[in-house]
């Protein structure tokens, strides 16, 4: 790396070059970042991952493509080489791959399920591109194709990665052991969703098609004993595996979901007078601690009937309940939340009003409202009160919907939609640029460069929906955005919102940061790579482990020709004279 040139000399050099008619050399920045650019054409389809593959605590660049996997280790100069330092080819055209530290040595591995039969582990940290066969006869299946499948996970919560093999109607879970996998699998039933299209010999518009979905069990502490349990649900049955020292090989208890569904009167045909009746769930259940006594409890919803089974997470008889509550109307969902802050979860129901098709059609031309009621049943020492403690309404005001589809308004709506999309996806985010240990600096896109603003984190900063969903899951978002919005509404009152206002309720932290800082003078600038059409999204991560935030900018290439990923590693200002900005473009 050469020493950074003073700005004055750079200006003179650029001016001279311009006078000579030569294109100025791309300025790779103010010297604050070391840049690597990866260009992926639209036909390429490669994926990237930045993760430690050699165990040095620094993120390496993994490129997964049609021919195999290549790894460029993060070099001492904090850039990635153009050609991979290590690579493998796919063992077959039926390969499912995952990138995970399967052996717990601190370096990620490339794990491949080959044709459902073998588990192959490729360890870049070893320097060898030979596969280690961790399972030779896995007994699984895979459809043709090479695809990512997140089958290397810690299922039993022991800190070691396990391997989940999709077998014929059963998952075969091989638990991680010291230096390998337990050859005896734990077997968990699942029901694949398979749809085959077999064409039509009398049609010119048919297709042969195959669609496969393999639902996964969930891993969570079901009974609240601090150990990770396993829940497997199919159409017929719920199977719960309660962990002791290890997960049992058979379910600890099961629930016959088909029999429970059969108890509920479900409409045989579409009810046009009560549209929500067609979508309300027949069966639903939640787990939580209702009475403060271990183990956790289970609340079962069958139609409009709710039964509380204390200690139900250790098995229950659906016919025997500790409490029965009945609701009326269309109960769309229910949650357990501590609404009154007394440390006990309360029961909340979301009920939709009766809406007919006629009403919906009238909304085309006449403004109306769609109302949902939130009923809260307070938990009093482990029992819910029989009558709702509060009833609050969410009233969604609807404009005449025809306004959404007339030609005149459509352009306005499209512009509005574009505006909303821009705000939701604005790529500004927080980082620790100055190394003060606080993630309170801002990085944003301005024109064709990225800019950094120091110490500009607002006090009320909140993550976007995607980040929240990673933590809370969809259930958590529903709780926050639907049930949570009426927490501050008085009993019997309504929370009104306009349909058109809904997008404004979605957090737009990137856009908010942009508005906050758009007139600030940046402390650093970094041009975007050439031939890009703006930043799609930014990620902040410490790639080289020096405590400073590094940046990954994913950009659209010009003319929809692909994707350009710009990796920017913050030069550590305390690292000594280590030269000017360097970059590699691949």
């Amino acid at each position: 790396m050469s020493a950074p040139r003073p700005p004055f000399r750079r200006v003179v050099a650029a001016a001279l070059l311009a006078l000579c008619g030569a294109a100025p050399v791309d300025d790779v920045g103010t010297g604050d970042f070391l840049e690597t650019v990866v260009r992926i054409g639209i036909q390429d389809g490669s994926r990237l991952k930045l993760t430690d593959m050699d165990g040095d605590g620094r993120a390496d660049l993994v490129r997964i493509g049609i021919n195999g996997v290549g790894v460029s280790f993060l070099a001492d100069d904090d850039t990635y080489a153009t050609e991979p330092d290590w690579s493998i080819s796919w063992p077959s055209t039926k390969s499912a791959w995952d990138i995970a530290d399967i052996d717990g040595d601190g370096a990620d591995d490339v794990v491949v399920l080959d044709s459902g039969a073998r588990v192959l582990v490729f360890r870049p940290v070893s320097g060898s591109d030979e596969a280690e066969v961790w399972l030779a006869d896995a007994g699984g299946f895979l459809p043709r194709g090479i695809r990512r499948m997140r089958f290397v996970r810690d299922v039993d919560g022991d800190g070691r990665r396990d391997v989940i093999i999709p077998g014929s109607g059963r998952f075969l879970i091989h638990r991680g052991t010291e230096g390998g996998l337990d050859p005896q699998p734990l077997s968990v039933v699942y029901e694949a969703e398979i749809e085959l299209k077999v064409g039509d010999p009398e049609s010119l518009d048919g297709r042969f098609g195959q669609e496969i979905g393999i639902p996964l069990f969930s891993i969570e502490d079901v009974d609240g004993d601090g150990r990770t349990d396993l829940l497997a649900e199919s159409k017929q049955e719920l199977a719960v595996y309660l962990a002791g020292d290890t997960l049992p090989s058979e379910p600890s208890w099961t629930l016959d979901l088909e029999a429970l569904r059969a108890e509920v009167d479900s409409p045989e045909s579409i009810d046009l007078e009560d549209l929500f009746a067609n979508v309300t769930p027949q069966l639903n259940w939640q787990i939580d601690d209702v009475d403060g006594v271990a183990p956790h409890d289970l609340i079962l919803q069958r139609g409009n009937r709710f039964t509380v089974h204390l200690g139900g997470t250790h098995g229950l008889d659906p016919a025997r309940a500790d409490q029965v509550l009945k609701a009326s109307g269309n109960v769309l969902h229910f949650v357990m939340r501590d609404v009154d802050g007394d440390g006990l979860v309360d029961l909340q129901l979301l009920r939709a009003e009766t809406i007919s098709l006629g009403t919906v059609l009238r909304w085309l031309v006449i403004a109306g409202s769609l109302d949902f009621d939130v009923y809260t049943y307070r938990n009093e020492g482990g029992r819910f009160v029989r009558k709702p403690t509060s009833r609050k309404r969410i009233s969604l005001r609807l404009p005449a919907l025809i306004g959404l589809v007339t030609d005149k308004d459509r352009e306005e709506w499209e512009d509005y939609g574009d505006e909303i999309t821009d705000k939701l996806s604005w790529p500004a985010t927080l980082l620790d640029f100055d190394g003060d240990g606080r993630v309170d600096d801002v990085i944003d896109q301005r024109g064709d460069e990225l800019v950094v603003l120091r110490d500009r984190r607002p006090a009320d900063f909140a993550p976007d929906l995607v980040q929240r969903a990673k933590v809370e899951g969809i259930d958590g978002l529903i709780e926050s955005f639907i049930f949570g919005i009426v927490d501050d509404v008085e009993d019997g009152a309504a929370f009104d919102m306009e349909l058109l206002d809904l997008p404004n309720r979605v957090p737009t932290p990137g856009w908010d940061l942009h508005l906050l800082t758009k007139n600030d003078v940046p402390v650093a600038r970094q041009p975007l790579p050439s031939a890009v059409d703006g930043v799609d999204w930014l990620r902040v991560v410490d790639l080289n482990g020096d405590g400073y935030s590094d940046i990954v900018a994913v950009c659209d290439a010009d003319n929809w020709s692909g994707t350009v990923v710009q990796i920017l590693i913050r030069k550590n200002p305390n690292a000594g004279a280590s030269g000017g900005a360097q970059g590699t473009d691949r």
Partner: protein, 520 residues
């Protein structure tokens, strides 16, 4: 004159209605599991159809087991409740079908697996000394569904002594035609590659699913942020979600020589592969570019409209409308002249302004020519929505008569208007295909969302001075208590009495309403 007319009138008045001599007998087949398919096939080659019911049984949480159960009809046309044969289907079977594959009389079953095709004789018990490998090749369908198994219909009857029926098979990289001597094994006669397969081999984005609560609300979406993989991702509830598809061809007699040819899609045109010497060549005999009159959203259906043995086409072309307004929908009738499927100009164009039309071709008046039956749907205007909702359904019949494929004006217009209260009555399946009443005219079979079936008769009244008026009775001629399913009702003559029957199934029960002539 009066002496002539009066007896005639009396004779007409006294003539028995053919429908009085027809009744329907309800048959039910209830299984210990779930019915996922049923077919009528002349398995033993005796000229009468058998009923093949495909069932998925399950014991507790054990995986379901699939079975094919063959039921025969007795001489009186009654369905035998007990299956004549039950065949357990192996776990690795993806699809099945019937074809003449062996030198034994009747048809054989063929089972497709991820590694190829096997033949099986339904006249023998069990698999030992019965199942035989017919084709060995990696197949397109490589994951069996334990609870279902679709019927494979790409069978080309041999017509050549010493040759079994040929099979068109979806292979891993396209489709191929396989054939050979009876009793196999078969060889590949021709192969049709699909160039999209290679590109789809490496999946660039995985799909995933999420669920709210523990119920059936589920969302499918592309997971993992796309090009850059991250460790912290939104928790999902699927290990794997994948889909792929390739084009499928049509197998029809294109040139009327009595041999089955193949029609394939060639970019925007039609590749015609004419059969030669018992096989379909990989090279197209000709490629017909898409004509300019086929612009817009197109659905093409193949029929032999003029009875000359070669396939003609009816193309439904929809030119879009914006917002809530009706669209211009054209039915283009394209008669195959033996040398090309796409004529220079359509042989007939019928235009409709509607939100949707459905059409079918059937010989409604049993004159040997196909007629065009159209159901036209018009949604309400904005004014109607505000002042009173109305959905109009018009049932039209264009008879196949004269020089043009169909008459220019419909012989029958039957309009129904539905308001909000009666809208549910519009949501019915309607079939005007078979004569159920024995009067020589097709009858209208309707099935509603609850599975209730009724039959209304089509009436043709001849005027004194010539001309005809056609109408559908307002009142049902037959109503049935038994319930089928709107998703799978079939109307066809399965007991060979010349009258249509009705077949449908719900979960574990197959319902057959079989016609019976009481005057025989």
């Amino acid at each position: 004159m009066i002496r002539l007319v009066l007896p005639l009138l009396l004779a007409v008045a006294a003539a028995p209605d053919a429908a009085d001599a027809v009744s329907f007998v309800e048959h039910r087949v209830t299984v210990d599991g779930e019915i996922f398919d049923r077919q009528f096939v002349d398995v033993d080659g005796d000229g009468t159809l058998e009923l093949v019911v495909a069932v998925a049984t399950r014991k507790g949480t054990d995986r379901s087991r699939r079975e094919l159960r063959i039921h025969a009809f007795d001489d009186a046309g009654r369905l035998q409740a007990e299956p004549r044969r039950s065949i357990v289907v192996m776990d690795d079977v993806t699809t099945y079908g019937f074809a003449d594959l062996r030198s034994e009389p009747g048809l054989e079953l063929f089972f497709m697996t991820p590694s190829g095709v096997f033949s099986y004789s339904p006249t023998r018990d069990g698999y030992r000394d019965n199942i035989a490998r017919l084709v060995e090749t990696p197949m397109f369908f490589d994951v069996p569904d334990g609870g279902s198994m679709p019927l494979w219909r790409y069978v080309l009857p041999s017509g050549t002594p010493g040759r079994g029926d040929a099979l068109l098979i979806a292979e891993k990289d396209g489709f191929g035609l396989w054939g050979g001597a009876p009793d196999g094994p078969y060889e590949r006669l021709s192969h049709f590659a699909d160039e999209t397969v290679a590109g789809a081999l490496f999946e660039t984005r995985e799909r995933s699913s999420m669920s709210a609560g523990r119920d059936r609300m589920r969302f499918d979406f592309d997971a993992s942020g796309g090009i850059l993989l991250e460790d912290d991702e939104i928790p999902t509830l699927s290990l794997l979600r994948t889909r792929r598809s390739i084009r499928s061809p049509a197998l029809v007699d294109v040139d009327g020589d009595g041999r089955i040819d193949m029609l394939d899609r060639d970019q925007d045109g039609l590749a015609v592969h004419l059969a030669q010497d018992g096989a379909i060549p990989a090279e197209a005999s000709r490629v017909e570019p898409r004509p300019e009159y086929l612009d817009g959203k197109i659905e093409r259906t193949l029929f032999d409209l003029d009875g000359d043995g070669d396939m003609d086409m009816v193309a439904k072309v929809t030119s879009g409308s914006e917002g809530l307004g009706p669209a211009l929908i054209r039915l283009l009738v394209l008669i195959n002249d033996g040398d090309r499927l796409y004529p220079e100009t359509p042989d007939q164009v019928l235009r409709f302004e509607a939100h949707e039309i459905r059409f079918q071709l059937s010989d409604v008046d049993r004159d040997g020519r196909l007629d065009l039956v159209v159901a036209k749907y018009e949604m309400p205007s904005l004014l109607d929505v505000a002042t009173g909702f109305e959905l109009r359904r018009n049932q039209l019949i264009f008879l196949g008569r004269g020089e043009t494929p169909f008459e220019r004006q419909p012989s029958m217009r039957n309009e129904s208007i539905f308001d909000i209260e009666s809208l549910q009555a519009a949501l019915v399946g309607r079939y005007l295909e078979e004569d159920l009443s024995g009067d020589g005219l097709a009858d209208l079979v309707e099935i509603d969302l609850d599975g209730r079936i009724s039959v209304r008769r089509l009436q043709r009244d001849s005027g004194w001075f010539g001309g005809e008026t056609w109408s559908i009775d307002d009142q049902a001629w037959q109503r049935f208590d038994a319930r089928g399913s709107i998703t799978n009702l079939v109307v066809r003559d399965v007991n060979a009495d010349g009258l249509g029957d009705m077949i449908s199934h719900r979960r574990d029960t197959l319902l057959l309403l079989l016609s019976r002539r009481t005057d025989r």
